[in-house]
Symmetry: C2
Subunit: 526 residues, 2 copies
């Protein structure tokens, strides 16, 4: 422990005073920490390191956090699967559009392919104008450029770009003259009945890695030479000075820009220019090696999504014997990665909830005749039978989840403490669900106190255990409390959940299992 | 010349075979050039270097191009004015919104300030919802993020970000967890009647330059350490591993990211972590030096535009004794720079055209009784008097500009050659004007041949010189030619221009000068 750097450790203090639990954002500035900060005392306890700081602050770090490995943001070669064309002999990463839309696992697989391999193809995307924007919005935000919100790739009478002719286009990245460059490109095929006009992809990271292996000096030249990329038309004049190969601070390949059409005049000494052009030509020759060329054809309804910081894309020439029309747009990798991470997080959350029902949930429920899982499934089934909207079925299903996750356990409640399980549960669920689900959960205990106050005969219907906890929870509301409760936005929903809650204590009643409700929960997480 | 690197020189061949004259994009790939390429012969002639290549290609390079200095894309410290707060003692870069909209010079000054100093304030922007998007669209494109197309900065009941509270916010850059980071931020004040809530800016490039001067080793640590920036809420989980200070391949400061709230867990050896945190704290302390803090207040209608890759922005705490509401959005520097360059280009073009009228235009006009300038001004005045739309006034004003710029001169035409001055002029004007201006110019010679064919008595009205050139230009059209001409989209406009052309040969007629027409031309360049 003595070798733990104090400022690093303290900067990562996870306590609620140092870090907003909702978003993980820190609540202090690095210079708020005192000079000469030291660890006054450190103790390992229950899988945590407990630290007392020289300024009196206390922190607790899970030991597994302390020893975690370095990971990455997924953008360097370290997190990629570098490829050659033969790696896709059995097909490219692809999915059906409708399946992608309906199945989070399929969507995650597509987005993961773009992250890992740099591309994926969606098949069966309706061949409609502007549909490519819908594809982009399924995982992120469209990046508008001088070409517009989207661009049409077809033969134009007076093209401002080679793309809008029928000529072949050698492997390149797009918009290198933009900084920030659009990091993702989408190409959606509306028609391709021309002879030729096939698509090609090259893994630019692989090409760069080959250059590094074969000629480290050339690789180094390309990483340190800012190259002026330029584009000019009547309304636009763009320039970005960026290296052909960008590496991060640890030397890992992170971005490739490659587009001879757009390279302006590089300036430097004769030696620098000679070295650059030799390295550039060597790199260009590598990108043209046959084993790196992945060729395929985009047909009507196919949408190619690819990493424009990594993959070079190409097109064979075509004869104007049939129509060829693609629509394209740009988007960015950061939002795609966010969408993928959130999809994984939601799957993990659903798995965790399922595990609660199967594990801890099979245990006794505060002296009732049913288990916790049976109780919550019965409540959800009652909500469903009543034709309740999905968010209330979910709230009924999850209303007691705080019993699993509270700092105190149900037993403590039975022993006379208020464990605030409704708040605990609602806060935990708020990581994935909106207030339409979490607020009825938060208010379901208050709803019991409310109903006992305002509805004659309600209290008599409480189970013995529930009557017992009512006292712990504060007893029936007084008139002022009840009036205030009735004003809350989620009050009516909470009352509905509470009624299903009371009904859901029938020993041996048959209900659907947790899996029945899982798709409903998944949909509510959006 | 022997020391000119051959591939560098050839890659920059400006001939129309190598480079698309419309957009400067190259028409060949670097590997299309042969191995062992050499300069077979080189000669200096008329201010050019003429090169014969070993593969038989010929190139011509202006000598002034050969010896031009290295310039930049405007994004590194080399192209900035690094500042301390006292540099703005007499006020920050600012402009009135209406003036900015109406005057290209004022707009250029504002955008240049953002490029050079990192920020500018527009005053008197209507305090309307979504108006900030209009400001962004005046020079570029809005970048959508998880906060939406725009975001409201005001106190929120359940904020997912410190921005949406009344707390003070220390100097920071926004969205460091995005890659690409939004490079520009706009903050538009709709209301600021709270006590406090003032704005602050710090030049992050200046702070980084100070760190480099005071502690080069710390500076180096910060440039080479990828720092994990993270953000997480219910629908978002972003991460970007980027250095706090990014330098280009030549070691020049290019980007600063600074936001302790968003720094996740950095991993590395104890030495690395200790070195990083020492450097980080030293840099953070520099950003807080009083002389770097530029403080000002945004009032209702003010819109701050600033470089989010360079400036740190801050806010003092405020009392909720009055409303405070900003709307913000993100955009990107590349489009802002493009807009600025095009504004400069247009100003230079108008200056060049004005110079033509004043200089070469004062010369004789092919044997007519008026100078070229008088002739074109008379044509424009006739169009204006006829109530013609602006694009036709411009076409009338500029219809003979090809006489100045053709490869052949008017004298050659009089000697029996067709100098195609209408095409030359139209192509030259197409750098700045759309087809509504250029096509009537292109067709104005054809329109004479057309009118002589179809309109009885027209030919008799031609001046002596125009009658002479008619023969050189092909004589009156035959029926087929006339029918084809009448079908062209710009035919009617060209005929209108032609009629003003014929009228515009009156010795000594008074007309407005070129300056009268300049605003009209400027507006048509948009």
């Amino acid at each position: 422990m003595s070798e733990l750097p104090p400022y690093w450790l303290r900067d990562n203090c996870p306590c609620a005073e140092c870090r907003d639990p909702r978003n993980g954002q820190k609540l202090f500035q690095i210079n708020d920490l005192p000079d000469e900060l030291t660890i006054a005392a450190g103790t390992e306890l229950d899988g945590n390191l407990e630290v007392l700081w020289s300024d009196g602050h206390r922190s607790r770090y899970p030991l597994e956090w302390l020893t975690a490995e370095r990971d990455g943001d997924g953008r360097t070669e370290a997190d990629k699967r570098l490829w050659v064309a033969a790696d896709f002999r059995r097909g490219v990463p692809e999915a059906d559009w409708e399946t992608y839309l309906g199945d989070p696992a399929e969507q995650a697989a597509v987005l993961a392919a773009v992250r890992r391999s740099g591309f994926a193809v969606l098949r069966g995307v309706p061949a409609l104008e502007r549909q490519v924007l819908r594809v982009a919005e399924s995982f992120g935000y469209v990046r508008v450029t001088n070409y517009g919100e989207l661009f049409d790739v077809r033969v134009e009478p007076d093209p401002n770009n080679l793309a809008f002719t029928s000529a072949a286009i050698a492997p390149h990245t797009d918009n290198p003259y933009r900084d920030p460059v659009p990091t993702l490109q989408l190409l959606h095929c509306l028609e391709n009945s021309a002879t030729g006009g096939d698509s090609g992809l090259v893994d630019g990271f692989r090409a760069a890695a080959i250059l590094r292996a074969e000629s480290p000096a050339d690789f180094a030249v390309l990483t340190r030479t800012p190259v002026p990329f330029v584009f000019r038309d009547r309304r636009t004049e763009l320039r970005a000075d960026r290296p052909l190969i960008e590496v991060d601070g640890l030397g890992r390949i992170r971005e490739v820009r490659f587009n001879n059409r757009s390279i302006g005049t590089l300036r430097g000494s004769a030696e620098e220019l000679t070295a650059f052009y030799a390295a550039y030509r060597r790199f260009a020759a590598i990108t043209l090696r046959p084993e790196l060329q992945l060729a395929f054809r985009l047909d009507r309804g196919d949408c190619l999504v690819f990493d424009n910081t990594r993959l070079l894309h190409a097109r064979t020439a075509f004869r104007q014997d049939g129509g060829r029309h693609l629509q394209g747009c740009y988007a960015d990798l950061d939002s795609l990665a966010s969408t993928l991470t959130v999809l994984h997080r939601r799957t993990a959350a659903l798995d965790a909830i399922a595990e609660l029902f199967a594990g801890e949930g099979a245990g006794e429920y505060l002296g009732e005749a049913v288990t916790m899982a049976e109780h919550m499934l019965q409540a959800a089934a009652a909500a469903e039978a009543a034709g309740a909207p999905e968010h209330l079925v979910a709230a009924a299903l999850l209303h007691d989840v705080g019993h699993f996750h509270g700092a105190l356990h149900g037993r403590d409640l039975m022993e006379g403490q208020d464990n605030r399980h409704s708040d605990t549960g609602a806060d935990w669920l708020a990581q994935w669900f909106g207030p339409e689900v979490t607020e009825p959960v938060r208010l379901h205990v208050a709803a019991k106190r409310y109903l006992c106050a305002v509805e004659p005969g309600y209290r008599e219907r409480l189970s013995e255990a529930s009557e017992y906890t009512l006292a712990v929870q504060g007893g029936p509301m007084d008139d002022r409390q009840a009036a205030a409760f009735a004003e809350l936005p989620g009050a009516a929903d909470a009352v509905a959940v509470r009624r299903w809650d009371e009904q859901a204590k029938v020993a041996g009643a048959a209900t659907p299992g947790f899996d029945h409700f899982r798709p409903l929960l998944a949909a509510l997480m959006n």
